[in-house]
Every structure is written in C-alpha cells, then in structure tokens.
C-alpha cells in the first residue's frame, strides 16, 4: 500500500486537542505517522476541506438474528431502498434495515470506519459474526447480552461474584464479543411469561433478583475483568411515559462501583438515553425530562450516554427488550416479531412511522437534541439513533445539521406537534449550536474514548492511530452552518474521501474499494480453579436446559476473518 | 360400480393429501432404489374404500393435472374419501401445479379419481421420461 498524505486540510482531532487546524496527515503502512516522503506518496489535496478521524459507531443494530428477522419481515423496506450492483459493489437493499453490503457502503460514504453491533444473543452469536464478516470496509466488534442469563442471575442471588466473572469471561470468549451488554435486565425473563419489570427494585419471577442487583454485580465484574468499555445498558422501562425515574435509579444502582482501570471513569454507559428521559403519565401528557438526565451527567462521572436521536419518518424498531416491542405492537397493531432466547434474553421487532403530528414523537425528537446540546462535556455523549430504532443511521448528517443550526431547528419546530412546548428545545436550547469540533467528538472521539479504543488507534489522528480518515466538503473558514444546514447535510452524507487503514475506500461519495476489516474480540483470563467451578454449573445448564450441546455452542474461529484481540487491564482479584 | 376398459371407476372427488413419512426420509438420498419406490409409490386408503371398490393391488390416481399408477395400501386411520400418497415423484404427477400466486403448488386437498388397475408402477427413470419432450 502506498504512503499517503492528506495536505492542507482543516483537521478536527479533539482527543489530541486539535480543534480545527490547518495540518497535513501522513499515513504509512495503514497508520498515521509524523512524516513520509511525499514524492512516493498518494497526495490528497484537502485544502478548504474538513478532515476528521474515521467515524466510530458505538451503538447500532447492523448484524445478527434480530436485524435479519427485521429484513425478512419487511420486503417493502428492502424494495424502497434498492440500488443496483456496480462494477465493484454488490446490490444494496433497505431503507431502514440494510443488507450487509449497503450497511458497509453507506457507513463508509458517511466517513465511518469502525462499527459496533450492540446486541448479540449469545446462543445466536454465530449468526452475528456470519453477517459482520460480510459487511465490507469497516472494522467491527460486538456486545454480548448478559441481561437475563439464568446462571448469571443465580450467581447474583447467591452472591457468587467470582463465578459471575468467570461466567462473563466464558460468554465473551464463546461469542467472540468484547462488551457486556444489558437490555431490560430481569425484564426479559419476566417476558418469558408475558410479564415485565418496570422498576429497578422489582424481582424477576423465580430467579428473584432485581435489575439493580444484576447491573451492580455485572458492573463489578466488568471492572475486575478490565474490559475497555463500561457495561453497556439499555435501562428497564424503555419508552414509557414517566420512565426517567427508572433511568436515574439505574444510574444510582452502580454508583458504588469503582473503575477498575485508570483510563476511564465511567461504570455504566446508558444507551439511547432519549428513550429513557420521559416525564408525564400517559401518551397524551408525556413530556421531556431530559434536564434530569443532563444534570445527572453534568454532575457525575460514572455514567455516559448516547443520544438515540429520533427522526421523523418510517423505520423499524428492534431490540432485545421483547416486552417493550409487544407494548409497541399493542399501540400500533403493526406486524410484530418476537424471539425469546432460552436461558439468556429476548427480542422483538416492529415497523414504525414517527410523525411530527404525533405528540409523543415530537417530544422524543426534541429530547435527543436536548441531550446533545445541553450536556457540557461532549465526551460523555455520543451521536446515535440506536439504528434503526429511532431512525436509520443514514440520518446522521441531518442530525449533525440540527445540532449545528438553530435556524434549522427553529424551522422544523414550526411543523411539529404543540407538545414541543413540553420540551426544552424552544427554550433552554434556543440558539445553542455545536461546532465542528463538537461534532468530531460526538461522532468519533467520544466513541473511541468511551470504548477505550484510543490506544487501539480509533477516533483520533495522532501518530500511531489507524489510518482511518474522513475528508468532508466543508471549508470551516467559510462555513455558516447555522444558515446553511443543507451544506452540512450534503457534506456529511457523502465524504469526499473516506480512508480506511490508509486505503481510499470512498471518493466523492462513491465506494471505490471494498477491503475487509478486523473484528475486535476480548479474551479475559480467569483463574483455572474458579473457571472449573463455574464450568461445572454451566455444564449442568447445558445438559438439562439448553437445546444445544455445550460442545456446539462456542463460535468457532473460522467465523472471524481477521480477529483482533484487544488488550485488557484486569484488576488483581481475577488475574 | 362401473366397468370400463378393464378398470373400475370406484369414486370421484376423493381428496388427495400428500406428506412426509419417516421411511421416505430414510431413503431421501437413495431415490433411484426399489426400496424408495416401494415406500413412496403408494396410496394409503381407508379399508372401507378399498373393500367397497374392490381394490386389490395397484390403483390409478387421476386429477385434472395428470395421472399415476401407485400401489394401494390399507390405512384405516385415513378417513374414507381421502387418500394419502407420500411426497415424491409419484404424488407430483397428480398434484396441482398452480401456485395460487404464492409459489406453492397445491400438494394437499386435490380432487382425484381413483381406479383399481393392473398396470405397473413406473420406476423413477420412466416416470421422469414422461415429462421429457412434448409440449407444455
């Protein structure tokens, strides 16, 4: 691969305190470097352009059982988004749930080069990897669902945290994932009987543990294992009016846990916070309680969030929170898929149309923006849409424009439901506009920081970083984003260049190369005797209650093309 | 009872149902064998129907889509006026090819006529030859 120099661009690299400086970026052997010999290098003239590290997706549903079930259920969605094959590219499909090729291409066109699949049911992990391995261009990783794990809940009830750590390590390895993920903890087990948990101190049937206990125990395990990211949590009571109390209770449930590694303070990442920030008591009087979340995040360091920004239009909701999807089905009566996964978790899928004429949708739309505008430290909040739940990820450019342009927000607010008055968007958020530096944070820097992937070369452009770069058609010297949101949208929709590992993969918004990226995995080490004790318990679960033999359960290494084991920093208790 | 050309018309508007059998599954990868033909080229009928219409060995099953000779086999759990042929090449000679706009031929609930016959059951190769050449 030829060396590369991206010359004269305006570089936004917030993690290295570069808030928009004219600067050259050199890449050698796929990594950013200080200097190269220009005459042997590919030269990219970025004069008058914006240069950022490659985008990082911290939370999206892009591969696996649920995503594919959503595709299967919605041929009408696939048909609407069709793009014929090109010389290099395979046919694309989907307007809210994309086929594997469209997923890779569309992210790359927006300048994204690293993607994380946010919910892997352990039993179905092989499926996730089969899809991830077909998504072209980006580097990838995945989060394993431990929310309603039977043996995990038994260990928690018995206070066997050591064994819980061994169990978590086993599932990370067996599923080739790298983050512990929790969706409606305890609630999915209740949903196995058609019930749900609303409060963090309710007990799940039979196993008699609470969401708070589950999260507290796993947070401690997460720190002991030294995983780079904190536990990644979809709180109980998603999407219901008045749920902000549950959300804050969830945050408080892990407040006593101390970080196990010095490079992050967060203990819990609360994903798609928008869906968890509601006041009111019903669908008519629902209101924004984003302020409660904002104040909490502004004054505490143990919780970080991503937006889960909702955008108006047609999309598909899909989550491991099966009970919540059933609630949505009861509201909309639209087609509904449910899949409970034995001994582990659940899931559900519903198509949805968010309308600016609907009170609750308007409030939801406002809340995501409020969170991003009002949280002071932009390294505590990441831009997401919980793709495809609140909107497809292809809406990111519009969201960026909304955050950078109060004019655009004011325009849109004229066409929405009067419930907008029950939000902070017209009042407290008035006039606030994010800068390109802020955007560089919430779309890549923050993600890399929260995932602790900075040392691994993501989300920044210091020497040693991955040669993942996006060049956008924005001249910061001339940009009036407030007045010209369309320019922002167009620029972020189609990068002039996306460079992945030093290779040009997108030029002028078109895919020009389709290399295959790496897959990040975590392999925590566990004391042998502890592991043996845990395995005796787990074997018993397999022999009697799983429908698959234990020997056929772990994902074989052949399912990962380019695995990359991330370094862990375990604390002494487990090592 | 109506004698005609050496065969006996026993009934019309019998419903044909096709489906799986373990024995058919066992021979799934051995379809050119005699054993497969013995298991699959079979028409299960209620004993009442067999007695009433004097069926001894083979029957010719005819639908508006085609006809086929198979061996009759007594199965009293099969209701009268319903016959069962295991899924496979012989059944397919008579099932409904129309897919009802959804890709699925009608493998179950086809109106058929069943007559006793002395004709032999075709081997697979010969059955397939009946589809070759000619016009649709």
């Amino acid at each position: 691969m030829a060396d590369m120099i991206i010359k004269n661009g305006t570089v936004y690299d917030p993690l290295n305190n570069i808030p928009g400086e004219k600067k050259d970026i050199c890449i050698k052997d796929g990594k950013v470097t200080d200097k190269i010999k220009e005459k042997d290098a590919t030269v990219i003239d970025a004069k008058g352009k914006t240069v950022m590290p490659g985008g990082v997706e911290i939370h999206a549903h892009i591969a696996g059982a649920k995503v594919n079930a959503g595709r299967l259920m919605r041929p009408e969605d696939a048909w609407m988004g069709k793009v014929p094959k090109g010389k290099l590219t395979r046919a694309e499909s989907g307007s809210s749930i994309f086929n594997v090729y469209a997923t890779g291409y569309k992210y790359a066109r927006m300048g994204y080069t690293t993607l994380f699949e946010a919910a892997v049911p352990p039993l179905l992990a092989r499926h996730t990897h089969e899809e991830l391995e077909e998504i072209p261009i980006a580097d990838k990783g995945a989060y394993v669902l431990m929310d309603n794990n039977w043996l995990g809940m038994e260990y928690i009830k018995n206070g066997e945290i050591d064994k819980l750590a061994a169990l978590s390590a086993w599932f990370l390895k067996a599923t080739k994932c790298m983050v512990l993920k929790f969706v409606n903890p305890g609630g999915n087990e209740a949903w196995g009987w058609g019930k749900n948990l609303i409060e963090v101190n309710e007990h799940t049937p039979h196993f008699e543990v609470t969401p708070a206990e589950i999260l507290n125990a796993f947070a401690e395990v997460n720190e002991r294992l030294g995983l780079p990211h904190s536990i990644h949590v979809h709180c109980n009571n998603l999407g219901h009016p008045g749920n902000v109390g549950t959300t804050i209770d969830t945050f408080n449930a892990v407040k006593d846990i101390k970080p196990g590694r010095s490079d992050r303070k967060a203990i819990l990442h609360a994903t798609h916070a928008q869906f968890h920030a509601y006041g009111g008591s019903n669908w008519k009087d629902v209101e924004s309680e984003s302020k409660v979340i904002v104040d909490y995040i502004n004054s505490n360091d143990h919780v970080t969030i991503d937006m889960g920004q909702l955008m108006f239009g047609d999309t598909t909701t899909m989550t491991a929170d099966g009970a919540m999807e059933y609630d949505l089905h009861k509201l909309s009566r639209r087609k509904w898929i449910n899949c409970d996964v034995e001994l582990e978790t659940g899931s559900g899928i519903i198509p949805v149309r968010y309308s600016p004429k609907v009170a609750v949708n308007t409030v939801q739309w406002a809340i995501g923006l409020e969170l991003a505008l009002l949280i002071k430290d932009k390294t505590k909040i990441a831009l997401t849409t919980d793709h495809p739940n609140a909107a497809p990820f292809t809406k990111y450019p519009e969201i960026i424009a909304l955050l950078m342009s109060s004019t655009m927000r004011d325009g849109m607010m004229k066409g929405v439901h009067e419930s907008i008055k029950r939000t902070l968007l017209p009042s407290e958020c008035a006039g606030i506009e994010l800068t390109l530096e802020d955007i560089a944070k919430i779309t890549r820097g923050t993600q890399a920081k929260l995932l602790n992937f900075v040392e691994l070369g993501k989300g920044h452009l210091a020497p040693g970083a991955d040669g993942d770069v996006a060049v956008y058609d924005i001249d910061p010297d001339k940009l009036d984003g407030s007045r010209n949101p369309d320019q922002i949208i167009n620029a972020f929709r189609k990068a002039i260049y996306t460079i992945k590992g030093g290779e040009i993969v997108v030029k002028d918004g078109e895919v020009v190369a389709t290399p295959m990226g790496r897959t990040f995995i975590a392999n925590p080490e566990i004391d042998e005797s502890l592991n043996k004790a845990m395995l005796e318990d787990l074997t018993e679960k397999f022999v009697h209650y799983y429908s698959v033999n234990m020997a056929n359960y772990p994902v074989q290494s052949r399912y990962l093309r380019n695995p990359f084991e991330i370094p862990l920093k375990p604390s002494k208790e487990v090592a | 009872m109506n004698m005609a050309g050496g065969t006996v018309v026993i009934k019309s508007n019998i419903k044909l149902v096709t489906g799986r059998l373990i024995e058919q599954g066992v021979l799934l990868e051995d379809k050119m064998s005699e054993a497969y033909r013995d298991v699959v080229a079979v028409c299960e009928m209620n004993g009442k129907d067999m007695n009433e219409y004097n069926v001894k060995s083979n029957v010719r099953v005819k639908s508006e889509f085609g006809e086929v000779v198979v061996k009759a086999k007594r199965n009293d759990e099969n209701p009268p006026s319903m016959v069962f042929i295991p899924m496979g090449p012989w059944a397919n000679a008579v099932i409904g090819p129309n897919t009802g706009g959804c890709g699925m031929p009608q493998f179950k609930g086809i109106d058929v006529e069943v007559k006793a016959t002395k004709d032999k059951v075709l081997i697979v190769e010969d059955l397939m030859k009946t589809y070759m050449g000619g016009v649709d």
Binding site: M73, R74, P75, E76, W79, R333, R334, K335 | G101
Partner: protein
C-alpha cells in the same frame, strides 16, 4: 399535438420482457429514434426497444396526456406494461403478462385480452380495463405492505383469480365475472364489486365494502348479519366483519 406509438413483437420469446420504461411519460417529448432507443429489460440484458419490437411512431407529443401506445399482438411475455404511468393511454390488443398498470397514477390502460397476476398493483389513480380474465392479486399491494391500491378504478370483464383487492385502501375494483379465493383480503377501504361468485370474501377485512352478486358464495364464519339493504336496485344481505380481527373488523359485505 398527439402521438401514437405502435409496438409489435418481432418474434415470440421465452424469457419475459420487462417494459416498465415503455410508458407515455417516457415517450412524451421524444423523437422517433430516441423512442426506439429507450431501453427495456430482457432477462438480465438491457436492450433498445426496437431490438425486440417493431416500433412505429406517428405524430409527436410534448406531454404524456397526448401519447397513445398500442401494444399490438400477444404480450403475454411482456411484464410491467404501463407501470407507474401518470397520463396518456395504452391499448394492448392481446394478453399481457404480470404487473400491468402497477403503480399507475393516471391515464388509461385497456387490455383487450387477459392479464396475468398483479394487474393494477399499488395503483394510485387512473383506469385499468381488462376485457378478458385477470390473474391473482388484481389491485393488491406489494408483499409486506399494509396498504395496497390507493385510488383509481380497475374493471375486469371476465373472471379474476385469488386475492382481488388484497390490502385495498382506496379506489374501486369491478369484476364482472367470478372472483377466486378471498377477494378483499385484509382490505382497509375502497370498494370491490363482483358480479359472479367468490370464496371467503372479505377475509380479514377492516374497512371498505365488498359486494358479491353471484349465487355461489362460500362465506367466512366470522361475519355478523346486519339486515338487508338495496344495492344497485337489488335487495342484498348485509354483513359486518371480519369479526375475527379483534376490535377492528368493521368492513361491509353484501351478498345476495
């Protein structure tokens, strides 16, 4: 100004042609040689219209309303005729393959022969007349959609296949002969009139009206009798349903 384009197949074909580009919208404002060069799909190959058809162009027109297309002869291997057209007229002197008049928004299509499946699928407006028989899914929607046809009128002089007006939301479908299985399946609005017989009409319907005038009707067990009413001068039994749909089956079914 007016333009008439006559298209005649050069030879019988096996692999179907997909002629969705051969519409008044695409022909209007074009010279003869440009019309002849318009591409249609033949299997996996895109070819110029005049490779497959003898193309005869008479006159000229700036807007689709002034364009008339005559498909001359048997078009039973030509799919998507008139798909998406917004105005103008298409006449087919023979049979047509699937998706005739699909996504049509305006104008008029007359098929002198039979039409295969999905005639008038997702139609929004205009008029589709099939003088012969029609296949399955007349005036239906695409797989997975909640709403199919949203406007316009379809008339079938002969018989129609199964699932006439599946997912019908708005518009009118008249079958002058018999309909097959489940006309008005899962419909949400609009009107279906069947002069002949039908099996299980209105199955799963939420709203709208199905009228079956023939004698031979297999009824769903889940419709509630609601007296009689005079429809087109004939006294008919009125039913409400499909009551299988919890709380939402509010369609009207009239039978003789």
């Amino acid at each position: 100004m007016a333009m008439t384009i006559t298209l005649k197949l050069k030879e019988a074909i096996m692999v179907p042609i997909e002629a969705d580009s051969a519409t008044p919208d695409n022909f209007a404002g074009n010279a003869e040689k440009d019309i002849k060069a318009i591409k249609v799909w033949h299997g996996n190959t895109e070819v110029a219209l005049d490779r497959l058809f003898d193309v005869n162009v008479n006159g000229n027109a700036d807007k689709p309303a002034d364009v008339k297309i005559i498909f001359d002869g048997d078009m039973s291997r030509v799919k998507h005729i008139g798909e998406g057209m917004t105005d103008g007229e298409i006449v087919v002197n023979g049979d047509v393959d699937m998706h005739a008049g699909a996504l049509m928004e305006g104008g008029k299509i007359t098929v002198k022969g039979n039409a295969d499946g999905w005639a008038g699928r997702n139609m929004k407006g205009g008029e589709l007349i099939i003088e012969g028989n029609a296949g399955h899914y007349v005036g239906s929607g695409y797989r997975g959609e909640a709403r199919g046809m949203r406007g316009g009128k379809i008339t079938v002089n002969g018989d129609a296949g199964d699932y006439v007006g599946n997912q019908l939301a708005e518009g009118e479908i008249c079958i002058n002969g018999n309909a097959g299985l489940m006309p008005g399946l899962d419909m949400r609005g609009g009107k279906i009139i069947i002069d002949g017989s039908a099996a299980l009409p209105g199955a799963g319907m939420l709203k709208g009206t199905v009228i079956v005038k023939g004698d031979n009707i297999e009824m769903m067990p889940t419709f509630g009798a609601d007296g009689t009413e005079t429809v087109d001068g004939v006294e008919m039994k009125k039913f409400v349903g499909d009551l299988a749909v919890r709380g939402r089956g509010k369609g009207t079914l009239y039978v003789k």
